[in-house]
Symmetry: C2
Subunit: 315 residues, 2 copies
Amino acid sequence: MNYPAAATELLKTGVLPHELVFARSLQSSNLDAGAPDPQLAEADVAFGQPNPNALLDLPKLKWVHLTSAGYERYDRADLRSAFQSRGTILTNSSSVYDEPCAEHALAMMMALARRLPDAWERQRTDHAWPAAAIRANCHLLVGQTAMILGYGAIARRLIELLTPMRMKLMAIRRAPTGKEVVPTYGENEIERLLPEADHVVNLLPGGMVTGKFMNASRLALMKSSAILYNIGRGSTVDEEALLSALREKRIAGAYLDVTAKEPLPSEHPLWTTANCYITPHTAGGHQDEFERLMLHFLANLRRFNSSEPLNDRII
Amino acid sequence: MNYPAAATELLKTGVLPHELVFARSLQSSNLDAGAPDPQLAEADVAFGQPNPNALLDLPKLKWVHLTSAGYERYDRADLRSAFQSRGTILTNSSSVYDEPCAEHALAMMMALARRLPDAWERQRTDHAWPAAAIRANCHLLVGQTAMILGYGAIARRLIELLTPMRMKLMAIRRAPTGKEVVPTYGENEIERLLPEADHVVNLLPGGMVTGKFMNASRLALMKSSAILYNIGRGSTVDEEALLSALREKRIAGAYLDVTAKEPLPSEHPLWTTANCYITPHTAGGHQDEFERLMLHFLANLRRFNSSEPLNDRII
């Protein structure tokens, strides 16, 4: 993408003495897929969101560093085998995004617990002072139960942030190792555990395996007082089933930072469903996001130059 | 006040074998001052917000337990000396309110850091998806500096909640003891330190000493990127000076849970000033607030019965 000047300058200076070549067509977001670009054939290192099909046949390419934490675009059997057979490395920017995403998840949990949207609605409209009504609907996080879906860098940081809250924490992940810092279970135990959760915090990446992970039958197992948060990817929640659960008050609320289609179309009913709170995929953002993206890549480039293990390696 | 049935039942059962006498006129909030009530002359223990003037001359009264954390109504030289000469005890409900108030303060810090009000404004109005614009305005709490005004139970709990955030924390209190868990300074050092703070979190109680603690000249020392939070009492901030600072963009924002006059009058300019966020004194509220108030009093009653030291003792 076209990065802000300060970030681009950091990159230009930092890569020296390597030659820096910009893609011919620059995307408007660091998350958008790049167009196929013949210049890639000459590159040793690709930084950004290079077109995944183009990566299948680039024998010179030694390392791809993604400017995102998500990598479902590259999570394909053909790419994985092409990278592995050529010895190409794939890294992502997970450590740039774990802090803002974890802070964002905590912000949403706390904002809804303190009923902040109710108060601001009154500030915007009638300047009323419904202290007793709002106070009675606030709940303490201390002592409540949170189930975290996914156990990557964001989940681990969120667990740190939640630790002083003295909640009961648990996580669900594909393959628990037994070394997680909270009780962690495989997907086959989610049905048993969902009815215990006051907060279901979905941090799952996109991809085939996680598609509609929170489906109608799992939503039906949630407490009527529980809240579903999606700070992962929109594809991991069945939005039709979520709409029904919200409309029928079978769950107390949903917070969505991501939706199956982004931008969420203006006429989509999620925008206007009661107890559904939406932010436009802002969880990873922060004032110095692009500088931090560059510094993360440049730190990896120094490791690459000296043949050290790279950070945030996927393949 | 007229408590919810479950809380009243708790109280009725819990005080036995003591005799429970209700005030003749019950207030609508647990924070409102009670009317003078001749029944008080017969009581050994008063629970609620008894009329402060009436307390001056009640020789039988051994203990007053307030249903609030704030006690500025009772923070008077004449009351203090009457209580001390008669050996009357004064306790408050500080430990009921430290958790919700600390969670509320953190909720506000995080909601503004993640620009949640901006996103919800768009959800309410045009269903736009301004991801890049909002992301660029979010800031990470990690690494920022927070100055906490006051070092009571709420401050200590807030510091616990903020610990994993790896912020630079400091506190201002009347008489630092050197035993505080963060660097803590007397009021005479606030002018030197205010320019360092990204967040000024005001938890000060009301009263003569703290009146307009955050005055025009102190507001003028804050960074233009800093935010003032008031979860203490409205009287501790000069609201006219705050309005000017906000209008002239000399500070980045204010969050007020309390105002000098409550309810804040509908025509008050704070309601509509840009970057001013208001909640109607909801910081201490939570679903089981009144049950917790009763349990706190009853635990103290057991201590009173067996002559043990009472919790949250003020006098």
